[in-house]
């Protein structure tokens, strides 16, 4: 992302700069404070004996309502993060979420890029109409398809299985749309050159289009992964067995079993967002690409 300031004209006084800087720091703290509080809560304890030993600040129900003083407890209870795995099937939920997010992402990338190549590079009958049909379904709310999909799956007897968690989400019109937009921007001359070298359509797809689409594929991959990692309604409807549950569903069970144990709950919640934060930190530039691909055109 090219950085340049458009306010070249307004020369800032040093004082104004300091005020702006302090204002931004304050805003940044406000935005991050809930997350800090999440960490602080996760490090506290619900154990009455520990609270007696370490003082009221160690618990989540302090007598002193000064939040700044009580952000972090006197003794940090990192063991909460391990206890999460002991009191519930959390490792299994983690595995399921990872499997589904990775599997669906791989499936999406393969099906969408193949279809996008056909829509952007090959000529065939009904191509326009078919693409319009894809686009039209983007406007239809998820809840319209969810009910019939559930009925279809349960009539086929595959509801509450890995199949239903993995396969239907692999196909999406959005991925096809996004990649088609990107493929259209790749110069056709490259395809023509490959054509002269004797490449067939599949060869052009593998040797020309895909290598040049790294950023778009990474963007679609990251968004699909994050979307499926956090997906809630779909698995909630489709799955009821404990061994098939994903992290969001597992967290909900956790609430029901340990309703007032906020430290443990927050530790579990932090576990659930760690992969998301890691992906964000490593794939930052693709987020901007994604926002622009989906957003600004022309």
């Amino acid at each position: 992302m090219k950085e340049r300031s458009t306010r070249a004209m307004t020369k800032k006084t040093p004082l104004g700069k300091v005020a702006l800087f302090l204002g931004l720091v304050l805003l940044g703290i406000t935005m991050l404070y809930p997350l800090l509080w999440m960490l602080g809560t996760a490090l506290k304890t619900n154990d009455p004996a520990a609270i007696l030993r370490e003082g009221p600040g160690a618990g989540i129900f302090p007598d002193d309502r000064n939040i700044l003083a009580n952000l972090f407890p006197p003794v940090w209870h990192w063991e909460n993060f391990i206890e999460v795995f002991a009191v519930s099937n959390f490792a299994r939920y983690y595995f399921n979420s990872a499997l589904i997010a990775i599997g669906v992402t791989a499936g999406q990338l393969i099906t969408s890029s193949l279809a996008a190549f056909a829509f952007s590079r090959l000529t065939f009958r009904w191509s326009e109409q078919l693409f319009f049909l894809y686009l039209a379904t983007l406007m239809v709310p998820v809840s319209v398809t969810l009910i019939p999909l559930f009925i279809m799956m349960s009539q086929m007897g595959v509801v509450d299985s890995y199949f239903v968690l993995l396969v239907p989400p692999m196909f999406g019109a959005y991925g096809t749309f996004l990649l088609r937009q990107f493929f259209k921007g790749i110069p056709v001359e490259l395809d023509e050159a490959a054509c002269l070298d004797g490449c067939n359509a599949f060869g052009r797809f593998i040797h020309v289009t895909l290598p040049l689409s790294g950023p778009a594929l990474a963007t679609l991959g990251i968004f699909t992964f994050m979307g499926n990692w956090q997906s809630f309604l779909y698995p909630l409807v489709m799955v009821s067995s404990d061994h098939l549950k994903t992290i969001p569903l597992g967290l909900l069970d956790f609430v029901e079993l340990n309703s007032a144990n906020w430290p443990l709950l927050m530790a579990a919640s932090i576990w659930s967002i760690i992969p998301v934060i890691l992906i964000f930190l490593f794939g930052q530039r693709f987020f901007v690409t994604g926002v622009r691909l989906g957003g600004v055109k022309g």
Partner: protein, 348 residues
């Protein structure tokens, strides 16, 4: 670049099969389902428009709240007034008077009829209420973008800090906010009690405040996210010479903002608003399910939550399908209106 006739279909097959089976077919199925009553245990029964009537229909009141003759007189007067203003007035005045007349006539009609299912209208109202967070969030996004669009130390770090809340999402974050809105020991009420010793409202346990709590959470989650990045990109495309020219003409900071920045980012505003309405109107399920279960007393039940409850808790499949099509039509109409309105306002 020639290729065999069947080649494109080889590329399309995987996607097309999935699309037909898991998107297209369910849509057709859902359309038929909307006209049936089905609880999955007994065979489905064709009921025609009954589902829609049950959701959106009106019936006459047993005891009208007003003398019909008075009502007719008022309605005729309002109608004449609207027609006259349509003929003789122009611009905003005309629009205002016509809208006011229509609202007046609707209020009059409501003296004689009442909805079959008042709850569903209440849930539609909830969905619209939650949409009020969108302009607030957009204003925050634009404000943050303007602040960040200046030469300042640590700009990337600030952008990171603002962006982070928008990418961490899902059940974990809803649980965090449920804890933050805790009446006794939550963060928000602790801050409020610093300035207002009586303490804050009961937030998620209060029918009046629960929706506001969800709006606050949504603003936190979206203000620094994709919308801010879009605004930042738009601001960087504004020609600095425009600001120089305005500066020479003697425009102050706010003058420059309203004369240059705001019009120049209006395409971005239109885009964010459209996408936000589409998304926001379908949304509200996850947060309602995790934080309030649609309560208290249905105060946070949106249309999508209603669809889930009817479909998957009570197994009124037909009614849920009908509600989902009502949702679709509403999203579609809102988007159309928004586009029409925006295409007049946007400066390219």
């Amino acid at each position: 670049m020639r290729h065999k006739n069947y080649t494109p279909w080889l590329f399309l097959t995987p996607s097309l099969l999935g699309f037909l089976a898991f998107t297209f077919l369910p849509i057709l199925f859902s359309l038929a389902l909307a006209f049936c009553a089905w609880d999955l245990f007994r065979p489905p029964r064709w009921v025609g428009l009954d589902n829609f009537v049950q959701l959106l229909g009106f019936v006459g009141r047993e005891s009208p709240a007003m003398d019909p003759r008075v009502a007719i007189a008022i309605a005729v007067a309002a109608g004449i007034f609207a027609v006259l203003s349509f003929v003789f007035l122009r611009g905003w005045l005309r629009v205002t008077i016509i809208v006011a007349s229509i609202i007046g006539i609707i209020i009059l009609c409501l003296q004689f009829v009442e909805p079959v299912n008042g709850r569903f209208w209440y849930f539609i109202g909830n969905t619209f209420y939650l949409l009020l967070g969108l302009p607030l969030s957009m204003a925050c996004s634009l404000g943050l973008a303007v602040l960040l669009n200046q030469a300042i130390a640590g700009r990337n770090l600030f952008r990171l800090a603002f962006f982070l809340p928008s990418i961490v999402g899902g059940v974990g974050i809803y649980l965090l906010w449920k804890w933050i809105f805790n009446t006794e020991y939550g963060l928000i009420n602790a801050v409020i009690s610093l300035v207002h010793p009586a303490g804050g409202p009961a937030w998620l346990e209060s029918a009046a405040w629960a929706k506001n709590a969800i709006i606050i959470m949504n603003i936190w989650a979206t203000a620094g996210g994709a919308n801010m990045v879009l605004y930042l990109a738009a601001l960087q495309n504004v020609d600095p010479q425009l600001h120089e020219a305005a500066c020479i003409d003697g425009a102050g900071k706010w003058g420059q903002f309203f004369a240059i920045t705001w019009p120049m980012v209006s395409p971005t505003t239109a885009f964010i608003l459209t996408m936000g309405i589409i998304g926001g109107f379908q949304g509200g399920f996850d947060s309602a399910y995790v934080m309030t279960r649609g309560g208290p007393a249905g105060a946070t039940t949106t249309i999508s939550y209603f669809i889930y409850e009817n479909g998957f808790r009570y197994f009124y499949m037909g009614r849920a399908a009908a509600a989902s099509w009502i949702l679709f039509v509403m999203v579609f109409c809102l988007t159309l209106i928004n586009w029409k309105w925006m295409s007049n306002k946007v400066n390219y």
